[in-house]
């Protein structure tokens, strides 16, 4: 039997429909691979029975949706009914929601089963998966001739590692400031964050509401299109959800970019970025030219303010969103002997949250506090407007923007201890988040140490199609077939 875990979602779907193999065989292959992947620490919960039940429904013909017979990994940020949902945090340990997030419910409706919940940075705050209460996920990738454990990136690190290690054909991720795209780049896979509002946030544990957006991660651009079509859609339970029909992204995939203009933002040329990454960027421009597109230099003048702006707005929203974890109704409750309500709050939150989450709650509380609000939060909102404006103007001159995804390849666990250095990982990803634009990372090649590097495509509002199409053009030309040697 062929190795089903090597196949793309499109191949699994088509093979299942052609009865080349059964959904049960797919589920069993993946369940076995998941069970054998403990060393990666990618899954926090394994749900083989769930995957088998969905396979059963597909094989018996009860489920005929576009994802019938496809098992997926689900980031632990998505509420899954009756299955632990903890956002990688001790404060939610043991929390089993009585409800299912809209996005995962959509995937289930399309026929998908669940392989398990995927590890992540606590409350999606992190770029290396090291802030998880379950400990870091190890990337399946290693540097050439090295046994040093590498991070898969974050916050969707478990998700990225799972696809790269072939312990899930596709997964859900969420992206607040690069949390889909940076780990996708680190692990040599594809990941897309759609336009803000495409995917309902209902049932996704909130980090920063105005930025959070779910998206798929998978081996190929086509798989991302297939998954995103199933995940997206208007949801009246989310006031920020877009009331628009879901486009047929897969059917409209085309790598012919004739007539398309590719914007190359000059502000994204940063000296400190390794030469290999800038070289890959130049290579990416060539590939898109080859696909028929015309490169144009564009300017996004407020780019340098994006990271500071993001690190005001996101923590501000998070400080308020995370106030509900107070020990009163669910999750962890720690009360010191004889302690009152305030003591319970303090102890529960001190014990329940990790250092990075606490840091961001404190930053957020500070920037919203009386006397500092205007200087920080109001100003950040204004700069966010300017950044959106930059993109609006740029898209008058181009159809899609190409940049590197991250300023480095994957780094070692424990190598980056300075929080500010960690925040720099998202320097290329954050502007699109602030502007709510669709953006995707596709693998471009390997660096000198044999680690994947990603190229980043940013599209205009609602134009996921051009992003996917440009991604496909790169994918076809990059011929990225490298995969990590199995060591786990």
């Amino acid at each position: 039997m062929t190795d089903l875990t090597a196949k793309t979602i499109a191949e699994l779907r088509d093979g299942f429909r052609a009865r080349d193999f059964t959904a049960r065989e797919i589920a069993e292959s993946y369940n076995a691979a998941v069970a054998a992947s403990k060393a990666l620490n990618a899954y926090t919960v394994e749900t083989p029975d769930d995957a088998l039940a969905a396979a059963e429904a597909a094989d018996s013909g009860k489920s005929t949706g576009p994802l019938a017979g496809i098992p997926l990994g689900i980031k632990d940020l998505f509420a899954t009914k009756g299955v632990d949902t903890t956002a990688g945090s001790h404060i939610l340990q043991g929390f089993k929601p009585v409800y299912e997030s809209t996005v995962t419910a959509n995937l289930r409706k399309a026929g998908a089963g669940m392989l398990g919940k995927l590890n992540m940075d606590e409350f999606a705050m992190g770029s290396s998966n090291e802030t998880s209460t379950y400990g870091p996920v190890l990337s399946p990738w290693r540097r050439r001739d090295s046994n040093v454990g590498l991070t898969p990136g974050g916050s969707s690190g478990g998700s990225a590692a799972a696809v790269a290690a072939r312990i899930a054909p596709g997964v859900t991720g969420t992206d607040t400031g690069g949390s889909i795209r940076q780990p996708a780049a680190f692990t040599g896979i594809c990941g897309i964050k759609p336009t803000y509002g495409r995917c309902s946030r209902w049932g996704i544990v909130s980090f920063a509401s105005s930025l959070d957006q779910a998206g798929p991660m998978a081996k190929t651009v086509r798989d991302c299109a297939i998954l995103l079509e199933a995940m997206a859609g208007f949801d009246p339970k989310d006031s920020t959800s877009l009331d628009l029909p879901v486009p047929q992204w897969e059917a409209n995939l085309s790598s012919n970019l004739k007539g398309k203009r590719v914007g190359i933002p000059k502000e994204y040329r940063i000296d400190s970025v390794p030469a290999e990454i800038n070289a890959l960027w130049d290579q990416g421009i060539e590939w898109l030219k080859h696909a028929g597109a015309t490169p144009v230099e564009i300017s996004l003048p407020h780019t340098k303010y994006a990271l500071p702006t993001y690190y005001i707005i996101a923590p501000a929203e998070a400080s308020s969103n995370l106030a509900r974890y107070d020990g009163v109704r669910y999750g962890l409750r720690d009360v010191p002997e004889g302690g009152n309500l305030d003591a319970m709050y303090a102890r529960t939150r001190a014990d329940g949250f990790g250092a990075e989450v606490k840091r961001r709650i404190m930053i957020g509380t500070y920037v919203l506090s009386a006397g500092f609000y205007d200087a920080y939060f109001t100003k950040a909102q204004r700069v966010r407007g300017l950044i959106k404006d930059d993109f609006r103007k740029a898209f008058e001159h181009c159809d899609v923007i190409l940049t590197p995804t991250a300023p480095s390849a994957a780094f070692g666990i424990g190598e980056t201890t300075d929080p500010l250095a960690m925040y720099l990982n998202d320097v290329f990803a954050v502007p699109a988040s602030l502007a709510g634009l669709p953006a995707m990372s596709v693998p471009g090649g390997l660096d000198g140490q044999g680690l994947p590097l990603g190229l980043h495509l940013i599209g205009n509002e609602l134009d996921e199609q051009t992003v996917l199409n440009a991604g496909l053009a790169i994918e076809e030309r990059a011929g990225f077939t490298a995969k990590p040697d199995k060591w786990w």
Partner: protein
């Protein structure tokens, strides 16, 4: 009552003090049976934690969705207060930790409220139109209520009931335009009446659907505003007046002793009639208000606003003026429009054909008296407006006298029978039969020959005596006009 037009002053050791009052009234949007941002029900008095949705309990990943009906009712209320309706408004989060606040923030509107400036006209003395005064409304915003802690269920633990959590409130903020307990009371009563006319809030203060935060400060007339205190959650008109009175005196005493009024939050103790400090400004929360990123700005379109306006009923002031235009006395008009149920009942009475002036007098004197005696509200009045109209018509067309009408009304209240039927079956019809009246007059004049003589010698006031005796003999059924006429014919 003291002259309401004279300014209310507190006489202190150092002279007279003026009281400055502003009210923040929290009115539950009882017109909506669902909460502001969730579909959970809002019935009063339900078992604890039975009206709680996942959103209300702030489960992870739950999101608020505005309830259109709540917004509609707040807009209608704003219109009834002649206020600016802001077609673009926004919800903000007010952040603080408390066990009755699952989200850790209240969704409210600080920066861009739904409703802006408006006004309410009050009569400080409802009997005296010259005591009219306009109280400014600063704003109305829409916000979520919190849950309730229960401290008496367990020896060492507090329980929490989230039923009220997320219930829609309108916070109606007045300008500091009131200057006496009577003005504060009149304002609250008038506001309550308007809300009940509009139907947005049932105004039930006992069940907590309306409560007031009372801001009080004192100053020497002509001085700048003094430091104010805010007494929270006062739940009756009487208590609001008591708070103003107590707080003003307390502040005057404090200031005259050389002390300072602390800007603080206070609570009212209805048993002792005093307020006490709850927390001072120093431990006041920094609420870190910011726009709720889970919600888009609220934008109202013209059609929605027009529908709100078209759905407004006639409001108390307009109704009062209409009643006065029908010849009803200002006092009666004011009494008849103070409560929406009374006004509706009276309008139904007019529609049933009653003559306005006569009907107003009858309702205020007879009907209210009877309801008072029976301990009933107009809402459960045993006599319908149509039945009352029938009774009043019998008086107006001379079928029965006013005296008989009182009897008939009593029988109506007891038996529920119609007025016409009662008059018919009990033979209470007024008679103008001169033969019968003359016969009785003959008997009375014969029996009172001495009084006849006195009358004829000039004691004119005895005429009333003869009328009374004749009416009595006729069991009240004689037409008083005919009795008068026949008596004059006999005596003069």
């Amino acid at each position: 009552m003291a002259d309401a037009s004279a300014p209310y002053r507190i006489k202190g050791e150092t002279g007279e003090w003026e009281v400055v009052i502003g009210l923040e009234v929290h009115a539950q949007i009882t017109a909506s049976k669902a909460k502001l941002f969730s579909g959970a029900a809002t019935a009063f008095g339900a078992e604890p934690n039975t009206q709680v949705s996942l959103v209300d309990a702030a489960m992870p990943g739950m999101l608020p969705v505005p309830n259109k009906e709540c917004i509609r009712q707040a807009v209608r209320t704003g219109m009834a207060l002649d206020a600016q309706i802001n077609k673009w408004s926004r919800f903000d989060r007010k952040n603080y930790f408390y066990a009755d606040l699952p989200q850790g923030y209240q969704i409210s509107q600080l920066y861009h409220p739904l409703v802006g400036e408006g006004e309410v006209e009050i009569l400080i003395d409802e009997k005296d139109e010259s005591t009219a005064k306009t109280i400014g409304i600063e704003r109305i915003h829409v916000e979520q209520d919190a849950g309730k802690l229960m401290h008496d269920q367990h020896p060492t633990m507090s329980y929490v009931d989230l039923n009220r959590c997320g219930v829609a409130l309108m916070e109606i903020v007045s300008r500091p335009d009131m200057r006496s307990p009577a003005e504060a009371g009149a304002y609250l009563k008038k506001l309550r009446a308007i809300l009940r006319y509009v139907g947005s809030c049932d105004g039930n203060m006992e069940e907590g659907s309306m409560r007031a935060d009372v801001n009080v400060s004192v100053r020497k007339p002509g001085d700048e505003f003094g430091t104010r205190t805010e007494t929270k959650n006062v739940n009756s008109v009487r208590f609001v007046m008591a708070v103003v009175e107590h707080e003003a005196r307390r502040q005057v005493e404090l200031l005259e002793e050389g002390g300072q009024v602390a800007q603080e939050t206070r609570l009212f103790d209805p048993d002792k009639g005093v307020t006490r400090a709850l927390r001072s400004k120093e431990d006041a929360h920094d609420y870190r208000y910011f726009p709720d990123p889970d919600l888009l700005p609220l934008e109202l379109d013209d059609a929605f606003v027009e529908e709100c306006r078209a759905s407004l009923p006639e409001l108390p002031d307009a109704k009062r003026k209409r009643f006065e235009g029908l010849g009803i006395t200002p006092y009666n008009a004011s009494v008849l429009t103070a409560e929406v149920e009374t006004a509706r009942w009276f309008d139904a009475l007019l529609e049933a054909g009653a003559e306005p002036k006569q009907a107003a007098n009858w309702v205020v004197a007879e009907l209210f008296g009877a309801l008072n005696r029976l301990g009933k509200d107009i809402a459960d009045c045993p006599v319908s407006p149509a039945q009352a109209a029938e009774l009043l018509k019998l008086v107006a067309d001379g079928t029965i006298s006013g005296t008989i009408a009182k009897q008939v009304f009593e029988i109506m209240l007891e038996t529920g029978e119609g007025a016409g039927q009662i008059v018919e079956s009990r033979g209470l019809k007024q008679t103008s039969d001169t033969g019968a009246i003359d016969a009785e007059i003959e008997k009375i004049l014969a029996a009172n020959a001495d009084k006849v003589a006195e009358y004829k010698s000039g004691k004119q006031q005895l005429f009333g005596f003869f009328v009374g005796q004749t009416m009595k003999a006729m069991q009240g059924k004689a037409n008083p006009g005919v009795v008068n006429e026949r008596l004059r014919a006999k005596l003069d």
